[in-house]
Amino acid sequence: MDFLANLFGSYWPAVQLTSWTLIKIIAIVLPLMIAIAYLTLAERKVIGFMQVRIGPNRVGYFGLLQPLADGVKLLFKEIILPTASNKTLFLLGPVLAIAPAFAAWAVIPFDATLVLANIDAGLLYILAMTSVAVYGVIIAGWASNSKYAFLGSMRSVAQIVSYEIAMGFALVGVLMCANSLNLGKIVMGQAGGFWHWYFIPLFPLFIVYFISAVAETNRAPFDVAEGESEIVAGFHVEYSGMAFAIFFLAEYANIWLVCALAATMFLGGWLSPVPFLPDSILWFLAKMGALVFFFLWFRATFPRYRYDQIMRLGWKIFIPITLVWIIFVGAMMQTSLGYLFH
């Protein structure tokens, strides 16, 4: 240590801070990566059981090594760079898709004290990061210079931005109740048992948020962007090997992220549902896991929406619902019943 301190001289405190922060970041990123890898297995298992199949069970006990085998397989597949594509943008696409899905975790509070960056503009940062992910999709679709990829990315981007509005309005409702953009304070605003959680006064917004989250991540039943029977795989049709794998991981990373956000903002984050049990990170993980399960359940249950139905749901149903509920909550807060919404 002394040797290092001498080596870096006056930069030593900065180096120390950077490496300590890096360790903390890795402590978030590594479990997240494992969670993403095993979500792919969980999805296949859950859907398998729902369809009375057994799902993957050959690689390792209960198929537990399957994600590893998939990863190694994709690693050794050639990354094809189509001649017609814009090479730099083509490779930038997947990076832009996955980076925000990880970076957004910087402000997620796992516990009352367990948060990497406790900033006041937390929610704003999250919104900014989830918006950046759209660029990954559109850049990938455009740079591929292929009709399927182009059409897939147009659809996908139009769908994502449409539902982002409904999502944003739903979050405005949360802010009205919490009076803070700091995610930790939003959770603390819900303290005192599950009847204080925001999903009760904001129930329509919670439903809109969760369905929008499914649409935002391009998951079934909103997966027209993938639409294998018409545009093959949508925006990532030209991608292979690791470049494809990154898009795949980004999708699952986004599922974890939106579920973590829903758990934080509507279901009280790390808070225990009843006052006699202690608050703990386990509650947060349980809520997040339960919400993720819904994503898998939806995929096994619902047939795919048509594109015009998706756009109608987003623009003509969700936006009016959220607007009305925001006005209702705002009006109620002006009356003596306002305490019900805090």
Binding site: A99, P100, M176, I327
Partner: protein, 118 residues
Amino acid sequence: MLENYFPILLFILVGLAVGLGPLVLGKIVSPHKPDSEKNSPYECGFEAFEDARMKFDVRYYLVAILFILFDLEIAFLFPWAVVLQEIGLAGFLAMMLFLLVLVVGFVYEWMKGALEWD
């Protein structure tokens, strides 16, 4: 204050590394056997018909414009929602007036058929 944002900057860099790392690794260990057929745009086994930079439905453009309007609206609502308790009735009514203007535009675009996809 600003040092709270340093971990975020670092996390964004780590996020980029999470994307770039596997790409670079894949490029190193995977085979590289290009071939003009393999590298041509995928069109179900046919030769690519025409340029993929083609005309597309104007409605996508319309959605993008509407998105900008509504997203700005959300940006305006955010600070309002955070301080709603302090600004009280006057603040609430002011925002309702603003929302009314937005809703008039929303109804107009709806009636004009900008939200139809059939």
